[in-house]
Amino acid sequence: MEVRVQNIRKEFGRFPALNDVSLDIRSGELIALLGPSGSGKTTLLRLIAGLESPTEGTVYFGNEDASRKSVQQRNIGFVFQHYALFRHMTVLDNVSFGLTIRPSGRRPSKADIRQRALELLDLVQLSGLEKRYPAQLSGGQRQRVALARAMAVEPNVLLLDEPFGALDAQVRKELRRWLREIHDRTGHTTVFVTHDQDEALELADRVVVMSKGQIEQIGTPDEIYDTPNSPFVFGFIGQSNILPVRVENGQLWIADRSIGVSAQGEPDGPAQLYFRPHDIELLDGNGGCIAGLVTVTRRVAGTRHVELDIGGANSRVEIELPPEKVTSDHSRVAFRPTRWKLFRD
């Protein structure tokens, strides 16, 4: 089901947690809310769920105004970071819970409930563990039970709050791939909150980058990474370098040197140059480049990270080179960004 958030504002006391946020979530989409802590991403998720009520604004499920509905009536699935399983119930009872508490008119028969719960446990690859108690499961298994429990009620939308946050790196990676598979198989509209950009970029159809209670950018992982539309997004997603530059006659200048980058159509004046460490080309010449002395080199997996001191204030940049390119400390390296963006204050 599609979910629309319209002009939502939320204040806790007098502290604004969300400020005029609007978001359209398409049916069947897997969407990530990404941002640093305090950016309002969890608050937005809880507002969609109905666990918080907005100070202003509306949430639509399909064409229906869900804002007036209680969390119980919204029929959503919610997965918490710390699982929130019912620990006095077996795995099977946990998964069945949402169905067994329905009023008798809408409640499936006992056999049907059991059948459905077992199917879901099979889907989350926990067959055979239905008689266990949550205390007897590992963290990854508990989170899968939580997901099965949330899906049992055929939710309009599946909401996951930092679902892998409490798990270790290995399990996390595995569950990530597995969540994508489940989503593709079941087609639930899914929103998940994360502060881990890798998770968001790898998993989501679209990523919503949030900061300070506002949405900075909405886009596919490619759009977010390749064409960030604000300094915040550029800085928050992936690695980036920031250099103060000057635009003069369609050319970029650092101090009194032209760096050989043409910026046609940009008005003259000071600006901030943003570029990623790997979006560069190495040069031999003296003119029309950024040049600096190597201060630190680090080998990171398949690339070599080189830190350069290019002189002047705020003058450290990091670039990525192929590992076979060996640079010694204090040697001179010249380069030019091939893909970049200018932001002005």
Binding site: L51, Q72, N75, M89, A150
Partner: protein, 285 residues
């Protein structure tokens, strides 16, 4: 030699936490000194009675009635305490209100107050000419000097046991568990009855056991409000004292031994249920 010792002491696993031997030694000596010696004295004295004497004393109608009143009132009082103790603990854990700290402190008063004072205070209130008793008397309800009065006194002394055992477990309940129930469609009543209370069961059971045990052994507060009519409102501990004052030591010993056995069996059952549920739900270690 070490190999032999190891085979003799197999339950003792090598551990990084030292002092097991010393700690166990101290624990056992202490238990023997404080609990086992007095109780075995009791068992020895009652076994000296001989089976037929013991049986005759045990089945004496006054003794049977006293035991029934003691265990019955303690049971009812512990049940009442479970209901209201859980509600009280809930209020203390969940809500913030002015005077909360005072109420929290008041819960412990029955621990500290001499129970005789409590008994006298309750009697003054509930006696037919007391504040509350005088209001109830025209309705034909008598509280003081009946088993109901005993229950009142035992509710008073037992309350903190339930509150103080349930409270810490309640504080541990994650708000997220309730929210999870709500997202799955559970209304407030379903959340409480199917999610929260079953999760509290082990703690509630402990509180019940403690309040019950306290109630069975309670003396000071009860003797004032009970009226102590033989066969009607006379509790077993009082009957023991009466027998002692009559220098009827065999009868006193027999009643004590029966109380001991019933209490021990009941506590054992409760503890077993509780240990089982704890293990299953993964509370504690």
């Amino acid at each position: 030699m070490t190999a032999r010792t190891a085979s003799l002491w197999q339950f003792r696993q090598p551990s990084v936490i030292p002092g097991f031997g010393l700690a166990l030694g101290v624990t056992l000596s202490w238990l023997i000194l404080i609990i086992l010696i007095p109780l075995s004295g009791l068992a020895w004295r009652s076994s000296a009675l001989g089976w037929s004497t013991f049986w005759a004393l045990a089945t004496d109608q006054r003794t049977v009635n006293a035991l029934r009143i003691s265990f019955g009132t303690a049971f009812v009082a512990a049940l009442i305490n479970v209901v209201f103790g859980v509600i009280l603990a809930w209020v203390l854990v969940r809500y913030r209100f002015p005077g909360k700290r005072i109420i929290d402190a008041m819960v412990d008063l029955p621990f500290a107050l001499p129970t005789a004072v409590a008994g006298i205070a309750l009697t003054t209130l509930y006696a037919p000419n007391g504040w509350i008793g005088s209001l109830l008397a025209p309705l034909g309800i008598k509280i003081a000097f009946t088993p109901i009065g005993i229950v009142f006194a035992l509710v008073f002394v037992g309350l903190p046991f339930v509150v103080r055992t349930v409270q810490p477990i309640m504080e541990e309940i994650d708000k997220e568990v309730e929210e999870a129930a709500a997202t799955l469609g559970a209304n407030r009543f379903q959340t409480i009855s199917r999610v929260l209370l079953p999760g509290l069961a082990p703690a509630v059971l402990t509180g019940f056991a403690l309040a019950f045990a306290r109630g069975v052994g309670e003396y000071g507060s009860v003797i004032f409000i009970a009226g102590n009519l033989p066969y009607i409102s006379e509790i077993a501990p009082l009957l023991i004292v009466i027998r002692l004052e009559e220098f009827n030591y065999p009868a006193a010993t027999a009643i004590a031994a029966i109380m001991l056995m019933i209490s021990f069996v009941m506590l054992l059952i409760i503890n077993t249920i509780q240990a089982w549920s704890r293990r299953r739900y993964g509370y504690g270690a």
